[in-house]
Symmetry: C2
Subunit: 324 residues, 2 copies
């Protein structure tokens, strides 16, 4: 393996570079973010959290699906719109409760498949789509989904909690396969028993509620290292990661694996003495968790491989998602 090429592929991956366009939205949000006084976490996490009393927070997140995937495979677009939203709530240690959608359809032929994908996603993850807004004469095909969940206020997993010395854990369901049309979709849910898929969500919730996890994020478009970098930027920390410690399904090479969007995958940080329990607990739910490195007091995410080390991201020079 050529390590330099791998580093370059990760840095130039579209899933990473596209995140930066979110900056403007963030700067808008800041001015009115806490107008009500109930928002309990800062901007920049997978979901936001609003205090509703009784030591509970309501979690809310949104994701959109546009373009190619909608037209190439609308069924999968619909299914994934559920998956990505459910994972946003899971990553916060919450219980997903319900979703709503906002749809624009120009091509009636894809409509039925899209809805069927959404429905099957709802049935798989056990989370209902309870409402929506259809734009009746859309010029394009787009699907936005928002999700709400609930969590204990003092137990949520955020991206802000990483501390120097924390172990970095990558936790991924390795029992899957690349989607036949979208090879960077590491699909682990579609053929899997619905109960096990739901248990994976609940398992993260359990670890959160029992104080095993200090910070975390679900692995999404930016891939394993891009997602870790987002967490580091939010926590204002660095990390050193050993490539070969990252759990991987070996049917995929590193370049593809590190850019994949897993059906169930998370980056966590935890105290060293909690790591073995986390590993054992998640293994029961088909999620392989391994310590891959450590949080440092720096601006850089370094990757080690054999005798080599490379700076993958630097919060000053090439951030994924710096928002302040």
């Amino acid at each position: 393996m050529n390590f330099k090429n791998l580093v370059k592929e990760i840095q130039e991956f579209k899933g990473v570079s596209r995140k930066s366009s979110i900056n403007n939205v963030i700067s808008l949000l800041e001015e009115s973010y806490n107008v009500s006084g109930d928002v309990v976490i800062e901007i920049g996490d997978d979901a936001s959290a609003i205090d509703i009393g009784n030591n509970q927070v309501m979690l809310i997140a949104a994701d959109g699906i546009w373009g190619d995937i909608m037209n190439v495979n609308p069924y999968w677009a619909g299914y994934c719109s559920v998956l990505v939203n459910v994972n946003d709530i899971a990553a916060m240690g919450g219980k997903p409760l319900a979703m709503v959608n906002i749809m624009s359809i120009s091509n009636d032929e894809i409509y039925e498949d899209l809805l069927k994908g959404i429905k099957d996603g709802c049935l798989k993850f056990g989370v209902p789509m309870v409402g929506g807004h259809l734009h009746p004469d859309g010029e394009v095909d787009s699907l936005g989904v928002a999700i709400v969940g609930i969590a204990q206020k003092d137990k949520i997993i955020t991206s802000f909690g990483a501390e120097v010395g924390d172990k970095v854990i990558v936790a991924i369901d390795l029992d899957g396969k690349p989607h036949e049309m979208f090879n960077l979709n590491w699909d682990t849910t579609y053929d899997k028993d619905s109960q096990l898929v739901r248990d994976q969500i609940t398992a993260v919730q359990y670890l959160a509620e029992h104080d095993y996890i200090k910070s975390g994020k679900d692995i999404s478009n930016p891939g394993i290292l891009g997602t870790l970098e987002m967490l580091l930027e939010t926590s204002k920390k660095g990390a050193i990661v050993n490539l070969e410690d990252i759990p991987r399904n070996e049917t995929l090479g590193w370049a593809d694996w590190l850019r994949s969007y897993p059906g169930s995958g998370f980056v966590f940080t935890a105290d060293e003495d909690k790591c073995e329990y986390i590993r054992e607990y998640l293994a029961k739910y088909s999620i392989e968790a391994a310590v891959v490195g450590e949080i440092t007091d720096s601006n850089s995410l370094y990757l080690n491989y054999a005798d080599e080390q490379a700076e993958i991201f630097n919060q000053d020079k090439n951030p994924v998602f710096i928002f302040r």
Copy 2:
């Protein structure tokens, strides 16, 4: 006034006819609507409600803004995306908590104004936009917003609760003016003190929590009578309404008034002995509420004017929003 022409204008109003395209989404939703067992109301309301324990429900709704308004006046589009969502929660007797958005922008020039409109809406209504998803290279300009709120489980106002003999109340803030670019936007919030606007939301919540209201809905695109008809269809009831009892700002003629989207407007049903209190209470918050008719055991919404009567909508022949 030519009553026949007025009836025709209401029936053929685009704000009414466009609602029917929502049918397909609804039929999808039904199959997976209550996969979790926590959803406490049926499909077809302004918002859905999910049981979160402690006699509380989480309310969730979504609305989208597309096309003309985005390009003609992106600032107003952003502002209204907040207004319509906040009213969805208010109409359920809930407290709005937070919003998320899903945006696609093709024209960078409108972007800044759009965001500014959203921000000003958030500050006006006291509800934060806590997250979002921006489609970085959109082909069109679209904005979807989802909102969450909270309410007491046994006190929510739904569209299902209208009963034969209930009085029909139309409650609208008459202190406003048509938006200069969108003459059917009856704007009552933009120039109004933020505290009063927020109090209007809280006032409905108060009436809900003290059992004054049996069913209700916020007046939206279909206008006063179109919105009432949606409530009737959901409750499977009819009504007889007296045109001249409907509160109106007399600077507008009936045809425009009945098709207007008010900044703060609701259709409620209530027991006769509650109506006077509702009127007096809402008057304190600049909302004029009047009994305009009565719920009947029929499929029809009849409108009376002078000696004439017309069937405006019929749930079998020309429904606004029949979904089952």
